[in-house]
Symmetry: C2
Subunit: 195 residues, 2 copies
């Protein structure tokens, strides 16, 4: 059997393993190549530099729940429950990442600091999905929003406690789900159109 083809995905998997094992300060491209049983030149053919590799692995981590969230944003039906589902799916994904493997989460916090452009792009995508839900609510006569882009940003900011990793330590607090529901109530009510 020929050896498995070296794909960007396999390299990113191995990079995550190496980061988990050595920590973000020590992990090198040579470690990644060694873990894959290839030369570091082979890795560089896919990622031009260590920085590019670290950026790509950050991007992949941030976008882990992208498919589920973008499907919700694009779905049909009432926008209010959809917005709640979207915020709940995002919160669940973030909690999972923070809770399942706190060390890897801490590693990605370091990578996120290094790759602020990638993080900003991710946040922009998230806010665009919120805007998509708000737009559909406005079209359905469910929501009012003079400036849906600004409103989407406000919903993002107002729900920060439930997706900003700065709050990860609070995500296992006993009252966090009640707090989440209360913010959802306030935000959805704040979007409602009234005759």
């Amino acid at each position: 059997m020929p050896p498995e083809t070296l794909t960007p995905d396999r390299i990113l998997e191995a990079t995550e393993d190496v980061l988990r094992r050595y920590g973000p300060a020590k992990a090198t491209v040579v470690d990644v190549a060694r873990a894959l049983g290839v030369s570091h030149g082979s890795v560089y053919r896919h990622f031009a530099s260590k920085a590019a590799l670290r950026e790509a692995v950050t991007d992949r981590w941030l976008d882990q729940s992208h498919a589920e969230l973008s499907a919700l944003a694009a779905a049909e039906g009432p926008a209010g429950p959809r917005l709640r589902d979207w915020l709940a799916a995002l919160f669940a994904a973030k909690r999972r990442k923070a809770g399942d493997d706190p060390e890897l989460f801490a590693t990605y916090m370091v990578l996120a600091d290094e790759n602020s452009t990638t993080v900003e792009r991710h946040i922009r995508t998230m806010i665009e999905q919120l805007e998509q839900i708000i737009d559909s609510g406005v079209r359905r006569g469910e929501f009012t929003a003079d400036d849906p882009a600004a409103t989407a940003r406000a919903v993002w900011d107002a729900s920060g406690r439930f997706h900003d990793p700065a709050y990860a330590a609070q995500w296992s607090a006993p009252d966090i789900d009640d707090a989440f529901e209360a913010v959802c109530d306030l935000v959805v009510k704040g979007l409602r159109a009234h005759g």
Copy 2:
């Protein structure tokens, strides 16, 4: 003229100066006493321990804008504008603290970490003031809130970006005032009663 009387306030002033000068890791009660020209025994007559002194100075710092905020919370008149004014006054006070003396701000971040009970008490007071405004809005028929305490907490959480020191680095961003206004719009609309 007799020497100035040693009051708790004078000690706290001096403690802040000493913290600013030596940093939170190095500042001692002896430094505070020396700055005041008194014995450390005199300081201990007012504050039983170094920890008690650090807690008191943290409390004082957190409550700096307390008078202005509690006056707003207790005022008469429409609750919507009052809520905005309250959130704006809190944001302005936090920005002032973070912007005027970033080093002292960083020092107080260290103290806040040490004194989480004091910080929690401060947050409880803030949320009670929000509840007071929401209650008065409900009494005036301006707001609806099934559970004003939970709603007050939701308003606190939703406005976190504009008072949580974790976001201090963003408070000088060019779009921060627009973001603040958009969150206020959303929150106040979320509280409005509708016939």
